[in-house]
Symmetry: C3
Subunit: 272 residues, 3 copies
């Protein structure tokens, strides 16, 4: 099992999949850089007029609605559908679902009109999309929703069955499920929540690994979250005491230096 | 007096106010990260369709016209008015006022249509908005305007009386006035002007402190500028000799490590 | 000859030219910061309504189509033409030319409607614009195009003659030609391709030097690429072993610390 994750880290560096992002302008630079850190190749392009062309040359598509607007929503739908037609995996990050009518409707519409391979969000966002009661505090998980792992496992499985996609809920413990299997990842560090965009960067890593292994979205998502969690630990060990700025740089350092051996040596995960 | 500023640094970390930004795409990542550094929670959302919803769940709204356009200007007005209705403080950063007709008209329009709690700009921008003669060199203060502190004090007081908002003019010495009182802050470092977005980051910090203490916009603005000034000094001491990139990371480090004791220990300010 | 490049580094710091960018939201923060690092002053403004006003106060205009859209394309044309009318140099970075119909048509349109001083791209992008066979892999040069220096020299000369602009092709060896002369720059480091935006940053540096020496676009482009190449070497020496994040910060450090002496001491270039 661990050999699969180990192998994916090597594969992404060999295959260098092109990952098409339609994403927000807040964290886009970190998303592009973490895609390069892990060994894939990012292309950010959100004009409707080129959504099909770019999705057509990509190995994975990442749709992130962090700063969605009337111009980018149709581009997301078009890019997603174009990817569906050629079997290119689509990762969807429903940033802030629950926080506004526009976000709620857009998230539902994307899930209806595009076949998603991996849906990644925090517990509040995924609870909302699963039709369960959710508190929302902007783009971060509400404290009321940070209950327990059993709850996250149940939400992930329910949503995976209902949506037909792999569901990844990130938090203190990350939970990934395809409806049948469910993997829990204990790696990570609380300092990751001091930086904007660590959720978005997880989605970019999922896109990168999906691009390298489109046939294995569960394993791709797990490997991505392991990578981020372990990089967070390494960044904290080296630079966390300095503060957020040094931690930020050290996080990119750690992802760029990651290899299969580090991943397997530090992975703390179990099936639930 | 200093106990107020000290207390605000503790309060923002306890209350974690949600700060809604409609801001530019140049410095948005730094704005989100400095909001997290100081202990608040950022949400960046500029679609007109969700401006009311997001302003409605926020504790403060920051309007920054750094890269304004026809899509975001109405969103700023709508978010500002929604905040006004529920008494949520609005911070306005008129980036580049004086540099183009579009910026001039938009700044005037926002000041007319939205009740602003704190207006923050450089001396050229605030002189322009006060109807005084101003040189403009893009988004940075013109050298001709960098005259003397007495002038800045006079401009801040005049504009505060005229506009009814707290006016914060940042520069070598920062000046904050509500029309009656006027506080001058001597903290800071010239290297701050080597980085893009240090002005925008000041506005995000003001929004963060206003979110924690909406009843005290003058104190919120002073605490924000003290925080930035002191963080700039600390960043220079630790990393300034390396160059701009290290200074940039060290600035986020310093804000994330700031506490009331550091603030009071290093504050250099006086009333004028 | 080297004295010219050395002098330009001093000149840009004295003249502090205002560089108007209409650029992408992925790398815009790095572009603004590198413009400040080298001593120039950035202004990012992409609204059509202010394109003329801002171009009118700038010393150089940089058009970068990294995340082009229906709103920014007319702004680029308008800003470019306004700059042409007053003799302000225009730098064009045709990011991703060859990757979509929208990019192809926009690049051709800009070259037709705006007089460009310096055109900078990777070998795939410039081959495409020169009407030569090109592979494209998103926004990075395709491996099939990374052939040999002779080829890049030939493409640069051909395109320079055909377009009437200075053409700069960046890669392992950078090539700059005005159709008659051709300068090859061997400085640089492979780690630069691990970061997003190093190409865009080259264009911002070219804009900065063009703003300081509008009469000498070839020399401006060579000085810019020397600056980036040498900064990449210095950043690698100091921080490359840590990984991409530290290298990123060290790159800004190195550009901000660059002076004419370092430039001349480390320059490795020849005319071809």
């Amino acid at each position: 099992m661990r050999e699969i994750y180990m192998g994916l880290v090597e594969q992404v560096r060999v295959k260098k999949p092109l990952v098409h992002h339609i994403t927000n302008y807040v964290t886009v630079n970190d998303c592009a850089n973490i895609t390069l850190d892990i060994g894939a190749s990012p292309i950010m392009a959100d004009a409707l007029e080129e959504a099909e062309d770019i999705a057509g040359i990509a190995s994975a598509v990442v749709l992130n609605m962090g700063t969605l607007n009337e111009r980018t929503i149709p581009a997301m739908i078009t890019a997603g559908r174009a990817a569906n037609e050629t079997g290119v995996p689509v990762v969807f990050d429903p940033v802030g679902a629950g926080a506004s009518k526009l976000r709620n409707e857009t998230a539902v519409r994307i899930l209806q009109e595009v076949k998603i391979s991996v849906l990644r969000g925090n517990i509040s966002e995924i609870r909302f999309l699963a039709g369960l009661h959710a508190e929302t505090k902007g783009v971060d998980a509400a404290e009321a929703d940070l209950q327990n792992i059993e709850d996250a496992i149940s939400v992930a499985k329910t949503m995976a069955v209902r949506s037909g996609c792999v569901v990844a809920i990130t938090g203190a413990v990350d939970v990934v499920s395809d409806g049948r299997r469910c993997v829990c990842i204990e790696n990570g560090h609380s300092m990751l929540s001091n930086l904007t965009g660590t959720g978005c960067m997880c989605s970019s890593l999922i896109g990168s690994f999906c691009g390298a292994a489109p046939e294995a979205p569960l394993e791709a998502a797990v490997t991505a979250l392991l990578s981020m969690g372990i990089a967070g630990e390494l960044a904290f060990e080296r630079a966390g005491h300095n503060g957020n700025g040094s931690f930020h740089a050290a996080l990119h350092d750690a992802v760029s230096k990651l290899d299969g051996e580090i991943l397997v040596g530090r992975a703390r995960l179990y099936e639930a």
